[in-house]
């Protein structure tokens, strides 16, 4: 009778829990496999995307490194003193030096002379990228003798060949190779004066560096260990500043190169975030359904005396196991995809993506998979505590009790915190992470609300008068044990991710392509005198080149603004005009219309002036701010001695990004025609060869005209941009495909939801067609509604991303959205039908026996 005393403190038998978890998982492995596969796809997507992301980031960073060719460059136009030299010699692990200056190079064979930029190099620079030369070895070997590398266009211009000599100062150098591209070449100087590299040991003998010579001193550094070069730069900056020197790192160069790098990294963050959520959708929907199915078993166990904590632990152990297996498999699959894809598409990719195993991605993927599994298992599992063992006698779910459960909210909070935390890993910004998570939360709620509404509405409208198949199909949406909410949320979220990625990708690629030169101007001719203008235009056309822009430029200054002069400004500090407005020398043009890079913000554009009245001018937005100018304000311009009273007729916004002439002040026609002016002409040269030939004829006919060939500079930048643009497209395409796979997987796990009913219908004699129709109807509504909602959310999401994250103009295309809508809807139906196909091909009882 002693056994009446019950040991309420019975210890939990951990090995037994594991045994139960294991036993419970054995039965119906194919079903378990389906769930695990959803996790596998989710995590594979995540790992592959993360891996690509990390690799691509490194690739682009490497490419960016070739912009300066070293980790750190320091330059100035004065020789360094001993103290500074000591500091400069202490930096980095590998050092190179360069002296560069303008000089006249002489090509003896063709007897030609031209302004060039001499770069005397000592050391192994460039550390990133190479001096791309023809022949290839010349980039390395020229330093060994009295040899030079000569810019390609220059070679063409003087019809020089490798092996010829070029005279630099007092010294003849043998041309070792043609210089096609060099890192750190994006300076303007290279555009005006083509580059000639010589070894530094011969610099002295050229006799070019003397007192009074204008020489630029550059120091290049490579750091072997991963030190924070930017930090070093900042540290030595005050010292450099004092010596009139400045530094550049890969990071500062990236910042200066503009927004593409920023856009790319923001886009990759977005992709990372989407991958995270794809992982979540894949894992969560699988786990949620899986655990829900276990409720009955848990009730029985409780009946047999299993404590709720024990039941909870059994399934927690199982979920962790499933999570680990799924995540590890997913990580392996993801890594495999990451390795195989570039090989498979080798011929299609315009650049190589490096494929290194990213342990960071794998680690995050596995951790994420397990954590998501647990968190989303917790939601149904915590209700285990509330599952009355009475459920064994009678199914009586008190749902309302679950909702009020504070633990449930704790789990929601945990999920939220977790998503924010992992988003933070991707975005590196707390505010951003919170906003992104909030956005997803809103999307989630919209989708849930949509599902709920759908259920309400169908319940209200389904009428007995409908045909049975329609009634049944619709009724499936709201009847007990429906999958409406989970499917709408997972399909909707996946569609939203896919659509948003596509939209943002399109916007960004557009943006990047705008920045690439394409057929834009890459050659600028300036200092064309009025008398030469017609001739130069004619010459350009004769060479078969387009005249993309041709503008007169008149130099002038502002004398007075509303009667106030610079002198007044010095006396009266209350005048809200910046000093620079009066000292600036304005390059002004006159024309009768706005250009494509201009937008009228205020006032009225007047293209033609009435000589008897004040001159209506158009002022650029920033100038209007600096000069505190409003429409109607009076300005007196001083056009090289002649005072011209004008007023602000309009204020323009100017896109300074285009390779074209833009102006702070534009005059109307009819005023400045007689003023001293020079002209600028812009054209596009398709190749070095054309460029060389064109330059030759222009210089021969108009020796005073100066030419800037931006081809080389633009080609370096273009290459980078096209890489970035490809990376963006590749990553989005890949993520979209993974998104679809995850979507398929999450719809696939609904396979068992409807099986019992289908079998029942089958048993009652329903035909194949009837069951297909019912299933198709249900899935079509689920698919189309969630796709539609997802796409609408994507429209909004893209708007916010474009406006606040990328800061680019928002525009979306309806057509791709429509296509996506159809694809997702049809895909859902197809998977739904595939899910029920098994039911139709086997005897009903067999299915019940194996799957019930």
């Amino acid at each position: 009778m002693d056994n009446t005393a019950i040991d309420f403190k019975r210890k939990i038998n951990i090995p037994w829990l594991f045994r139960m978890a294991w036993r419970d998982s054995r039965r119906n492995r194919s079903r378990l496999f389906l769930f695990i596969s959803a996790i596998v796809f989710g995590i594979a997507a995540l790992v592959a995307i993360y891996s690509f992301k990390y690799n691509v980031q490194n690739d682009v960073n490497d490419q960016a490194a070739t912009l300066i060719g070293a980790d750190l460059s320091i330059s100035g136009n004065k020789p360094v003193d001993d103290k500074l030299k000591h500091m400069l010699d202490s930096l980095g692990d590998d050092r190179s030096q360069e002296r560069s200056f303008a000089s006249m190079a002489y090509f003896p064979r063709t007897n030609g002379t031209r302004l060039v930029q001499i770069r005397a190099l000592h050391g192994d620079f460039p550390y990133y990228g190479t001096l791309e030369t023809t022949p290839e070895v010349a980039g390395l070997t020229f330093k060994k003798g009295r040899m030079a590398l000569v810019d390609k266009t220059l070679m063409l211009q003087f019809n020089a060949k490798v092996g010829d000599s070029v005279k630099v100062g007092n010294l003849n150098f043998q041309i070792a190779g043609i210089l096609n591209k060099a890192p750190g070449q994006s300076g303007v100087m290279a555009g005006i004066a083509p580059v000639v590299y010589i070894p530094m040991q011969y610099l002295e003998q050229t006799g070019l560096v003397k007192i009074g010579s204008r020489v630029n001193y550059s120091f290049y550094y490579k750091f072997n260990s991963s030190v924070n070069v930017d930090k070093i730069g900042k540290k030595i900056d005050p010292m450099l500043d004092k010596a009139g020197m400045r530094f550049e790192t890969i990071e500062t160069k990236k910042d200066n190169t503009g927004r593409a790098f920023g856009d790319l990294s923001r886009f990759l963050s977005l992709v990372g975030f989407v991958a995270l959520l794809l992982g979540c959708v894949g894992v969560a929907s699988a786990i949620h359904i899986y655990v829900k199915e276990k409720i009955a078993s848990i009730a029985i166990m409780r009946c047999l005396g299993v404590k709720s904590s024990e039941a909870f632990l059994i399934y927690l152990i199982q979920i962790v196991g499933i999570g680990i297996i799924g995540s590890v498999t997913g990580a392996i699959l993801g890594t495999a995809v990451q390795h195989l894809l570039p090989i498979v598409f080798k011929d299609f990719l315009p650049f190589t993506i490096s494929v290194q195993i990213s342990w960071m991605a794998i680690g995050q993927g596995i951790l994420l998979g397990v954590i998501i599994s647990i968190l989303f298992a917790l939601l149904p599992l915590i209700s285990v505590r509330n599952i009355s063992p009475l459920n064994t006698l009678r199914i009586s779910f008190d749902e309302s009790g679950n909702r009020r459960d504070p633990l449930r909210w704790l789990v929601y909070l945990l999920i939220l915190v977790f998503v924010i935390a992992f988003t933070y890993l991707q975005l590196d910004s707390i505010i951003g992470s919170i906003l992104f998570t909030l956005g997803i939360l809103i999307a989630f709620m919209i989708l849930t609300a949509t599902a709920w509404l759908l259920m309400r509405i169908t319940k209200a409208i389904v009428k007995g008068s409908w045909s049975y198949l329609w009634r049944q199909g619709f009724a499936n949406l709201y009847r007990p044990n429906n999958q409406t909410i989970i499917l709408i949320v997972s399909i909707g979220l996946s569609t939203m991710f896919i659509c948003t990625l596509y939209f943002v990708q399109t916007l960004l690629v557009q943006q990047v392509n705008l920045s690439t030169s394409g057929n834009q101007s890459n050659m600028i001719l300036f200092d064309i005198q009025s008398s030469q203008e017609k001739g130069v235009v004619q010459l350009t056309k004769q060479q078969g080149l387009p005249v993309l822009q041709q503008v007169p430029i008149v130099t002038m200054r502002i004398e007075q603004i509303n009667g106030k002069t610079a002198a007044d400004l010095a006396k009266d500090t209350t005048i809200k005009i910046q000093h620079g407005v009066f000292t600036w020398e304005y390059r002004v043009t006159f024309r009768d219309s706005l250009t494509s890079s201009e937008k009228l913000l205020d006032g009225k554009w007047i293209g033609k002036a009435d000589p008897s009245k004040e001159i209506p001018v158009s002022v650029e937005e920033n100038l209007s701010k600096r000069g505190n100018l409003k429409i109607g304000d009076k300005i007196v311009f001083n056009v090289q001695g002649v005072q011209m009273p004008a007023y602000v007729a309009s204020i323009r916004k100017v896109n300074w990004g285009k390779v074209q002439t833009n102006f702070q002040v534009v005059f109307p026609k009819g005023i400045l025609e007689g003023a001293p002016q020079f002209h600028v002409l812009m054209t596009h040269v398709p190749s070095n060869k054309v460029s060389a030939a064109f330059q030759q004829v222009v210089v021969r006919a108009y020796p005073n005209v100066s030419i800037i060939d931006l081809g080389l500079i633009l080609s370096v930048v273009d290459e980078l941009l096209s890489k970035i643009s490809y990376v963006i497209r590749f990553m989005s395409a890949f993520s979209i495909i993974t998104g679809i796979v995850v979507l398929i997987a999450s719809v696939r796990i609904s396979k068992y939801q409807r099986i019992q009913e289908s079998v029942l219908l089958r048993t009652l004699g329903a035909s194949r067609k009837q069951i297909f129709t019912i299933t198709a109807l249900e899935y079509w509504f689920l698919g189309s509604l969630s796709a539609l909602t997802g796409i609408l959310i994507a429209f909004a999401g893209t708007y916010f991303l474009a406006k606040y994250s990328f800061e680019i103009p928002y525009s979306v295309n309806i057509l791709p959205a429509l296509v996506l809508f159809l694809i997702v809807s049809l895909l859902t139906v197809v998977i739904g039908l595939l899910n029920s196909r098994g039911v139709l091909n086997k005897p009903p009882l067999e299915i019940l026996r194996t799957n019930a």
Binding site: Y106, L208, V209, T257, G641, N655, P676, F678
Partner: protein, 228 residues
């Protein structure tokens, strides 16, 4: 992204176009003075016109009046000489540009014409013959309009890095031209200033206010005789 770069490049390029340096400031006074002159045209005073580039304009100086024409102007005033100095310098001006612009300036009367151009040609490696041709053309135009005007030529040199050959040819343009046109010549405008870091701005080309005083002395040594 690279928008910034490109516009940066373009700006820089046009700046180059602007002259050895920038389109930035220039001489306020030059044009201003010219303007005043057009308006008031004080009959009592004769006009000294400094026609040049950024060196005349006073590029980069806080007060363009600190450029060497300004220094000379103050000296003229303190000596109570009956001259008014007009600064017609324009940053970035080449000899070709000057040749195009000169007519505009010759609308006003000129008694002493001081020509300071060529530096930008030299820095851009424009053929020396072209520079000489343009300068000659400018002188011809002045002579044609105001045959009585006294002419002063300010000699320029390019830094040694341009190469001995070019440097020598360039340097010779000025004495040759002066002799041919019977002009007074300042052999080298930047004598004692060029190549001395402390007297030049950060760019190593444009004199500081201190440097401009020395430049003004160089000019004054020759100019003073023309103002007698």
């Amino acid at each position: 992204m690279n928008k910034v770069t490109l516009s940066g490049i373009l700006l820089a390029a046009l700046t180059m176009a602007g002259c050895g340096d920038g389109a930035k400031s220039s001489n306020n006074d030059q044009a201003q003075a010219a303007t005043e002159n057009v308006k008031t045209d004080s009959a009592s005073k004769k006009i000294v016109l400094f026609f040049g580039d950024s060196l005349t304009a006073g590029y980069g100086l806080d007060d363009p009046a600190d450029a060497f024409p300004g220094v000379i102007s103050r000296r003229v005033d303190s000596l109570k000489l009956p001259y008014k100095v007009i600064n017609a310098g324009l940053s970035g001006e080449t000899t070709a540009g000057g040749n195009g612009r000169i007519d505009w300036l010759l609308k006003q009367k000129v008694d002493v014409f001081v020509l300071e151009l060529g530096a930008n040609d030299g820095l851009r490696g424009i053929p020396v013959s072209e520079t000489a041709k343009n300068l000659q053309s400018i002188v011809d135009k002045v002579k044609a309009k105001y045959p009585d005007a006294k002419l002063v030529l300010l000699g320029m040199q390019v830094p040694p890095n341009m190469g001995a050959d070019y440097t020598a040819k360039f340097k010779n343009v000025f004495p040759h031209l002066a002799k041919k046109n019977n002009m007074a010549l300042v052999p080298f405008l930047l004598q004692g200033v060029g190549g001395v870091p402390s007297l030049n701005q950060g760019d190593g080309i444009h004199p500081t206010a201190q440097g401009a005083k020395i430049v003004a002395n160089n000019v004054w040594a020759i100019l003073k005789d023309e103002l007698k």
